[in-house]
């Protein structure tokens, strides 16, 4: 009976502790990033840091609420939650407000909410529910198609909102599929397609076709024993398909995409130099982090973060402030906290009795991991610049709420891991 009374019974305090640590670090660094001498109080509601406190407190309430709800609810209502989310994503296309180029927000007075953040939670739930069904076989085409649809529909809707960054994050669910046993061949094919797409934009078309031809010839001649007619035809066929694909990519790039989209892709792939725009931000971000040294410049002592060198200082580029003011020690701590949290979630997920809970856990880990890699990667110049927040650290209501719910549903499922839900 004790279980029924205390919602914290059996809770994994390590996950909760890591969560709280990250949220707190976020708040302190938002304060430092947008510190305004005329509004010195960290509680000043006219500033981002004051408002972030509201988001933190409401998130705590949401976390508690998530824990109070019966664990069975998440399984039973996953599809309903998912479908409602799709409707909301469609609604935002028509009724939404455009903020910095993306029509991804509902505006309610001064308050705006971004449904695509919550779509991550809904998709993770739906994916867990679907793949968690008994006797599901990820090797059957039907299952693969349905899985692609579950992940793909929100991606398409969010792309239509012109919020490419958020949409890309959904590709992280590939990690879930990998764990759930999708065949290596499909993973490999997917990888080939991605590599080929990038190469066809990167390299001269003739050069690329030459390289492909060389690969085909090498594969045909490398194994004398397997040089059957069937094999030669297969490889030639694959070669033709690959060449066709290269032309198709070029065609879409040249004819279908708008100039500004081409531009963004080019900058993303490093084909075009853009030291004034994105390149400048990354360089400034690296200077901020690099100038932090071993121990950092100290709280509120960052000089680089005091100037508007990067547009999204309290949101997408919050890690700069960590790096500059807390140095190598602070940044390593934050990186470690993320690694610990994500690995902890995976280990916990593996211990779940139901497939639903396990797959959902992997979904949470995948989403957090994707954001972590892309966001911190871009601030230190190892990944392309994609405008997405750093979970728990970045300023923003929608994003903190969504990540809190995402994590605490798993915390709740984990509490009940010994029960069949």
């Amino acid at each position: 009976m004790r279980r029924e009374q205390n919602i914290f019974y059996n809770i994994d305090w390590v996950m909760v502790g890591l969560y709280l640590a990250l949220v707190l670090i976020g708040w302190i660094n938002i304060y430092a990033a947008v510190y305004n001498e005329e509004h010195r109080s960290i509680f000043d509601l006219s500033q981002n840091y004051g408002r972030q406190l509201i988001w933190i407190l409401t998130s705590a309430a949401l976390a508690l609420f998530t824990l109070v709800v019966d664990a069975k609810f998440y399984n039973a209502f996953s599809f309903i939650i998912y479908l409602s989310m799709l409707i909301i994503l469609i609604a935002v296309l028509f009724l939404g407000t455009e903020i910095s180029g993306a029509k991804a927000w509902f505006q309610l007075g001064t308050f705006s909410i971004q449904p695509s953040e919550f779509a991550k939670v809904a998709t993770a739930l739906a994916l867990a529910r679907y793949l968690g069904t008994m006797d599901i076989n990820l090797k059957s085409f039907r299952t693969q198609l349905n899985t692609v649809l579950i992940i793909g529909i929100p991606i398409v809707l969010i792309l239509l909102e012109n919020d490419t960054g958020t949409a890309l994050m959904f590709l992280g669910f590939v990690i879930v599929l990998f764990r759930e046993g999708i065949s290596s061949k499909i993973m490999l094919t997917g990888l080939c397609i991605v590599v080929l797409s990038i190469l066809s934009l990167w390299l001269d078309r003739l050069l690329l076709i030459g390289i492909l031809a060389a690969i085909a010839v090498i594969v045909i001649f490398i194994r004398r024993r397997g040089r059957t007619l069937k094999r030669i035809l297969l490889i030639t066929g694959l070669f033709v398909v690959a060449v066709g694909y290269v032309f198709a990519v070029d065609f879409v790039f040249d004819q279908v995409l708008e100039p500004h989209q081409q531009n963004r892709l080019n900058v993303l792939l490093g084909i075009e130099d853009d030291p004034q725009g994105i390149g400048y931000n990354v360089n400034q971000s690296k200077i901020a982090i690099g100038s932090g040294g071993f121990f950092g410049k100290g709280f509120l002592q960052g000089t680089q973060t005091k100037f508007d060198f990067v547009p999204e200082q309290s949101t997408d580029f919050i890690f700069c402030t960590v790096g500059e003011e807390w140095g190598f020690v602070g940044s390593t701590l934050v990186v470690s906290l993320y690694v610990l949290l994500i690995v902890r979630i995976i280990l916990k997920a593996e211990r779940q009795r139901t497939s639903f809970s396990r797959i959902y856990g992997y979904g949470v880990a995948s989403i957090l991991f994707t954001h972590f890699v892309i966001n911190i990667g871009m601030t230190i110049g190892v990944t392309p610049v994609i405008g997405i927040p750093l979970p728990f650290l970045s300023y923003g209501g929608s994003c903190l709420w969504a990540f809190t719910i995402l994590l605490f549903i798993f915390v709740k499922l984990d509490i009940k891991r010994l029960e069949l839900i």
Partner: protein, 601 residues
């Protein structure tokens, strides 16, 4: 757990740990090993300075400079870098009140603490050089150089247009423009904005705590230099333009002159005009207000935007349509009963009957009413006949815009048959109903530009090039659409008939323009007197010269002045004389025109 699942779990965890290690390694490198980042950040402030390119210059067809740039300096402020300063000295330097300075600082702060905003626009060169020495006393302030337009000849204000600060809508729409940038607002400045503006550059300099520049940031790796705007050479003839503006002093109306062999516009005069230098710099907004409040509308470009009934000049068109449709021949004659003629009387006394040549020479109303009536009854349904007539008018460019590089053209008006259906009912109108069209009155309206183009077509015997202003951009000749011959519906032979008639207007014994014939230049012209319900008639004249191998086509409209032969004809012939001979011998005519004040007689 299956072996495969276990293996994949380990792969995933391994991947996460690997990313963690890569990130920490990278952090170790940029934070501890590579010292260059620390140097970059050392107590330095990066200031982004926009490099404004010089705007392209504008020259006339002979290379005379019409628009150039003069340096100006904006005082900028970055509020977050402002420290306490000697306001008394500052006030003295900049010539502002203390309270004003306070207000502006608050305004700048509200815009952005860290982004630069303009504190004072276009400070003079003197106060700039004085200020520059003292600048270190005022951290957070710096000077940004800009260019202003200057118009040495003071002519062609409407054609050249003006520039001004971009509005919020443009900034929203086009990311190139930032608040405080200049953009062409009217005339050529607007049409050729993208050519003239060049490309802005960016310079990032390191600035110490006292606001002193300490050299470029990262050896200028992130700088881009400004690219100068391209110069344009336009088709105006500055001398002819200036002469036209002199002739039209104290008159309302316009002069449009076109080179028939190219469609290049030689002069576009739209009095009353203004000195283009009035709309430059700090004085712009005050002067703009004054000019737009002026009841004579000096900002309105009548040459392109005003529409008038073409009056008798349109008789030439009716003659052409009748010839082309085989309804009339040059020798087709009609009777005229002078002032007693019904339904349109004749205002001239002449022998009768008369053929087409003489009808044009004398501008006989009854003749063209008969001609027009014949066109309208040539089909059993007047709708068909009218549509044919309208087709010819449209092929001359009436009722449509040319859509070349001219700013704010009006379409004029040639009604659709539906228009009359609406007024008179489907079967409620006949030739009689729309008889005013026969003498260029009634519903139809044309711009002076269209009238000049009309003269061009007759001069060319049936074709024209889109009237336009651009000749070349830098050294390249742009846009071949201006070099495409547009052929009208009228054959060269039929045009020749009207050319002969228009020649007799000047040279015939009874020609309506015979008082202004020139000994050495064969001018063809047609007078027009457009009735105007709001006041005195408009005086109109369309003409070209010489008769063979024409070099100039001119249309003149003088508002509320009287007969076409009285004002528009002498002005047009003076323009022709000036352009072809380079000087005017008829000094008394010239003086008479320049000195006539038709606005406040």
């Amino acid at each position: 757990m299956k072996a495969q699942d276990e293996q994949r779990k380990l792969i995933i965890i391994g991947m996460i740990l690997l990313v963690g290690v890569i990130f920490i390694g990278r952090l170790f490198y940029i934070q501890i090993i590579d010292k260059s980042y620390i140097l970059s950040a050392q107590n330095n402030v990066v200031r982004v300075i926009t490099q404004y390119p010089a705007r392209g210059l504008v020259y006339d067809r002979h290379g005379e400079l019409l628009v150039y740039n003069e340096a100006a300096f904006d005082l900028m402020v970055i509020p977050s870098q402002v420290k306490a300063f000697d306001t008394a000295e500052f006030c003295q330097l900049i010539g502002l009140e203390k309270t004003e300075i306070k207000d502006r600082l608050i305004k700048a702060r509200n815009y952005s603490m860290r982004k630069a905003s303009i504190f004072e626009k276009q400070i003079s060169k003197e106060s700039f050089s004085f200020f520059k020495e003292k600048l270190h006393k005022f951290p957070g302030f710096y000077v940004q150089s800009r260019t202003l337009r200057y118009y040495p000849t003071r002519i062609a204000a409407h054609t050249l247009g003006y520039i001004g600060e971009v509005g919020p809508a443009t900034i929203e729409e086009n990311p190139y423009y930032k608040s405080g940038d200049y953009i062409g607002i009217s005339g050529l400045e607007s049409t050729y904005e993208e050519v003239l503006r060049g490309k802005k550059g960016v310079k990032r300099v390191l600035v110490d705590v006292f606001g002193r520049e300490k050299g470029s940031f990262q050896e200028g790796k992130f700088d881009s230099s400004a690219v100068k705007g391209k110069d344009i050479y336009i088709s105006l003839d500055a001398k002819l333009q200036a002469y036209g503006e002199r002739l039209m002093v104290n008159k309302k109306g316009s002069i449009v002159a076109i080179e028939p062999s190219t469609g290049e516009i030689l002069a576009l005069v739209s009095p009353p005009s203004y000195d283009p230098n009035l709309l430059v710099g700090r004085i712009r907004s005050t002067n703009y207000q004054i000019l737009s409040d002026d009841s004579l509308q000096p900002l309105f470009n009548k040459a392109l935007s005003a529409t008038y009934p073409p009056g008798s000049t349109f008789k030439s068109l009716n003659a052409l349509v009748a010839l082309q449709e085989g309804i009339s021949t040059p020798s087709t004659s009609y009777y005229c009963q002078g002032t007693a003629t019904v339904p349109i009387k004749c205002s001239h006394y002449h022998s009768t009957p008369l053929n087409m040549y003489r009808a044009i020479e004398i501008s006989c109303n009854p003749y063209f009413w008969q001609t027009f009536r014949s066109i309208m009854v040539s089909r059993s349904d007047i709708h068909d006949a009218y549509t044919i007539w309208r087709k010819h008018a449209l092929s001359f460019g009436f009722g449509t815009r040319f859509n070349s590089d001219l700013f704010n053209e009006s379409k004029g008006f040639i009604p659709l048959p539906d228009y009359y259906d609406k007024y008179y009912g489907k079967n409620g109108w006949r030739a009689m109903t729309i008889r005013s069209l026969s003498i260029g009155q009634g519903e139809i309206l044309a711009t002076p530009l269209q009238l000049a183009n009309f003269a061009t077509i007759i001069a060319n015997r049936g074709y024209y090039y889109k009237p336009h202003l651009i000749r070349s951009i830098n050294d390249s000749i742009p846009d071949s659409e201006y070099r495409k011959k547009i052929v009208t519906t009228i054959s060269p032979a039929n045009c020749q008939v009207v050319v002969e008639g228009m020649s007799r207007v000047m040279d015939g014994p009874e020609g309506t323009g015979r008082w202004y014939r020139l000994e050495d230049i064969a001018i063809c012209g047609k007078t027009g007197t457009a009735e105007n319900p709001h006041g005195k008639d408009h005086s109109i004249f369309v003409s070209f010269a010489p008769k063979d191998n024409p070099r100039i086509a001119v249309a003149v409209v003088v508002e509320n002045s009287g007969f076409g032969a009285t004002w528009a004809a002498p002005i047009a012939t003076l323009m022709i004389e000036k352009y072809i001979n380079g000087e005017v011998k008829r000094l008394n005519v010239e003086e008479n025109m320049i000195n006539s004040n038709l606005i406040n007689p």
